[in-house]
């Protein structure tokens, strides 16, 4: 039974194996709609948690790569309804817990009343909503909680200390620590301040902390490992899929 607790458990399992958990992001139905479940399972074979991106016309927090994938998926006719029904119907699904990463509007349109139950039925453990800050999240959070699902909170290097503490306190699943200001997909080489910031996030957070945005290679993972419980790999993985390479092989390369 999938719930927000699964996420914690999956990360804890990686921690027990003395390596940061790998949270892998894929855009649903990208590159091809027909391969959605197959790609999901392939990624699932090498990831601890999977973020499934719901495509949106206006992905304002995303860089070029994920914008491109989102656009392609929309072109393939991918919708939230379709994603949920594919997941519900899938004969085989990854053991790794699934998160839906979506901008708010497709969720609103689906309806907060119906969405948590439908998501749970599809085997989804929680949500990441980049344009839903804590102040606006109460209604959705409550609806998710009612079904035991997580709303993953993001924090950033520019989040002030007091706010950071407030955000980390009720965190569901894990705290998504954005490593930099900017959109997804840039290459960053993790300066020392970021490590300090991650330490602060971890200190403030009861839940595990995963770092995301700009993580592309093993060296970065190694540098981050002592400071986080997991890393989130997005654009780099989407580019692997774009090039038609094996996502599992790529992800396994990031296992320490």
């Amino acid at each position: 039974m999938n719930t927000s607790k699964d996420i914690g458990a999956a990360i804890a399992a990686a921690t027990a194996a003395k390596r940061p958990a790998i949270v892998a992001f894929m855009t649903a139905g990208f590159p091809k709609r027909a391969d959605f479940i197959a790609t999901l399972n392939r990624i699932g074979s090498a990831a601890d948690v999977i973020e499934i991106g719901v495509p949106f016309t206006d992905p304002m927090a995303d860089g070029m790569t994920i914008q491109r994938a989102s656009e392609a998926a929309l072109h393939e006719g991918v919708t939230l309804t379709w994603i949920l029904s594919e997941l519900t119907a899938a004969p085989v699904k990854p053991a790794a817990p699934l998160l839906l990463m979506s901008y708010l509007n497709p969720l609103l349109r689906f309806g907060f009343e119906r969405l948590p139950a439908a998501a749970r039925a599809a085997g989804v453990s929680g949500f990441i909503v980049p344009d839903l800050p804590r102040e606006e999240a109460a209604e959705f959070d409550a609806a998710l909680k009612a079904e035991g699902l997580a709303l993953v909170q993001m924090v950033t290097p520019v989040t002030p200390r007091d706010r950071l503490e407030a955000l980390c306190r009720p965190a569901g699943g894990f705290v998504y620590a954005v490593t930099m200001t900017g959109t997804t997909g840039k290459v960053v080489d993790v300066p020392d301040e970021v490590l300090t910031y991650l330490d602060a996030v971890r200190a403030a957070s009861g839940a595990p902390v995963c770092a995301g945005f700009g993580i592309r290679n093993r060296a970065q993972v190694e540098r981050l490992a002592p400071h986080v419980d997991g890393v989130i790999v997005g654009s780099a993985l989407v580019e692997v899929l774009e090039r038609g390479e094996d996502p599992a092989a790529f992800l396994r390369g990031l296992h320490l």
Partner: protein, 414 residues
């Protein structure tokens, strides 16, 4: 977020609006508004909100703003009587001349006000989006005037159809970045500007061009544009001898409209009409009449009405006017529609172009295509309300539209 508002609560909400209680402390106009942005931007929006609180009513800021408005922008802009249109339409037609404001549209009111704020907030650089290019030009001008570097995002489609404005921005030292993602118009430009801002939320000031976006932008832009309506009120009393019976403005994001409308909201005898782009027709994707046919949702930071499909994907829009070609709208307009204070209607491309030509030939004023939508709607109203006194917001001039007009009204005539 329920939108079924009964008459009693509508009246109550409107009374609160008139008392100046919106946006409330959550940045909302009734159910609309709010702040739906990536966490990275929250501190920047908080700082902006504090800055507004600290500066907007500050006498020194007000003095700086008044000086720039009076001696650089050219305020007050005149209120012109339209003798020929009045005779032809059988009503009294008055035009508030934002086309005479520096850089050619109302956009400068907000641009210079925000640029003065950006300076006080210690911004190192400014980003802005633009559709018709008017806000880009206004931002370029205001930032040049105050010595702030500015980057303007503009959709590739708009760069094409509003070409003269691209050159104007560059001559004033602005960096113009073409946006080739999404619909390549205003919406995509806002997305890109937000992405830029997310990359440096402390050093960068986002100079938003309409009464849209996350709180406090709809409030800030309204406050800076309300000078249009305040001046109009005084001028109508002095020149026309009374308030108008009806007020018209075109609505893209809604900044010139809210600026003109707001000071009249409490005058319950004044009918207020917002005019959107009816484009090619009522079909989804053929227009950008958000208030007329949109549904509630969240786009680019605010809960408002939008043009979206059944899955919450934002609809492509169409309008001959780049400045109205936008699938969202400022939350205060969604509110004013919902409480029934303002009526919104739409005018199609062809009718707008015909109105532009009629105004040009009748009064010797070449308006922006955006603006012409308001004239077309006012014309029908005038015919239905003989001898009424009508105020139209002449939001901008048409110089920027010459490439489009060359392809349409002037086809074969150049």
């Amino acid at each position: 977020m329920s939108l079924t508002i009964d008459a009693a609560s509508a009246a109550d909400l409107l009374a609160r609006e008139i008392r100046g209680e919106f946006p409330d402390e959550r940045g909302r106009f009734g159910p609309f508004g709010g702040r739906y942005v990536p966490e990275t931007l929250i501190p920047a929006l908080d700082r902006l909100e504090q800055g507004i609180h600290r500066w907007l009513k500050d006498p020194e800021y007000q003095a700086d703003l008044a000086r720039e408005l009076n001696t650089w922008v050219g305020r007050p802009t005149p209120l012109s009587y339209a003798p020929t249109l009045s005779a032809r339409w059988g009503a009294e037609i008055w035009m508030k001349r934002e086309d005479l404001a520096h850089t050619g549209a109302h956009k400068i009111n907000s641009a210079i006000g925000q640029a003065l704020l950006a300076k006080r907030l210690g911004a190192k650089r400014v980003v802005a989006e633009t559709g018709a290019g008017q806000h880009g030009v206004a931002s370029a001008a205001a930032c040049a005037r105050l010595g702030l570097p500015v980057t303007v995002y503009m959709g590739a489609v708009d760069i094409e159809r509003q070409a003269p404005n691209v050159g104007r921005m560059k001559l004033m030292g602005a960096t113009v970045k073409p946006v080739t993602s999404g619909d390549q118009t205003l919406r995509a430009a806002v997305d890109e500007a937000l992405r830029d801002w997310v990359s440096d939320p402390s050093g960068t000031y986002y100079l938003l061009g309409s009464a849209i976006g996350p709180h406090p932008y709809p409030y800030l832009v309204r406050e800076l544009q309300a000078i249009i309506g305040r001046e109009s009120r005084v001028q109508m009393m002095a020149q026309a001898g009374g308030l108008p019976h009806a007020v018209f403005a075109c609505v893209g994001g809604g900044s010139n409209a809210i600026g003109l409308f707001h000071p009249f909201i409490g005058d319950r005898d004044v009918a207020i009409r917002g005019v959107e782009a009816g484009g090619r027709g009522p079909g989804l994707g053929d227009n950008s009449a958000t208030l007329v046919s949109g549904t509630p949702g969240v786009l680019q930071g605010a809960y408002s009405l939008l043009l979206q499909d059944a899955h919450g994907q934002i609809q492509e829009t169409h309008s001959v006017s780049a400045g109205l070609d936008y699938p969202g709208v400022g939350p205060e307009h969604a509110f004013l529609k919902t409480v029934g204070r303002v009526d919104y209607e739409s005018i199609g491309d062809d009718e707008a172009l015909a109105a532009l030509e009629e105004l040009a030939c009748a009064e010797g004023i070449l308006s922006a295509i955006e603006t012409a939508h308001a004239f077309a709607a006012a014309k029908s109203y005038a015919k239905a309300h003989p001898r009424s006194r009508i105020l139209i917001g002449l939001s901008g001039r048409g110089d920027k539209d010459m490439p489009t007009l060359a392809r349409t009204l002037l086809k074969g005539k150049l």
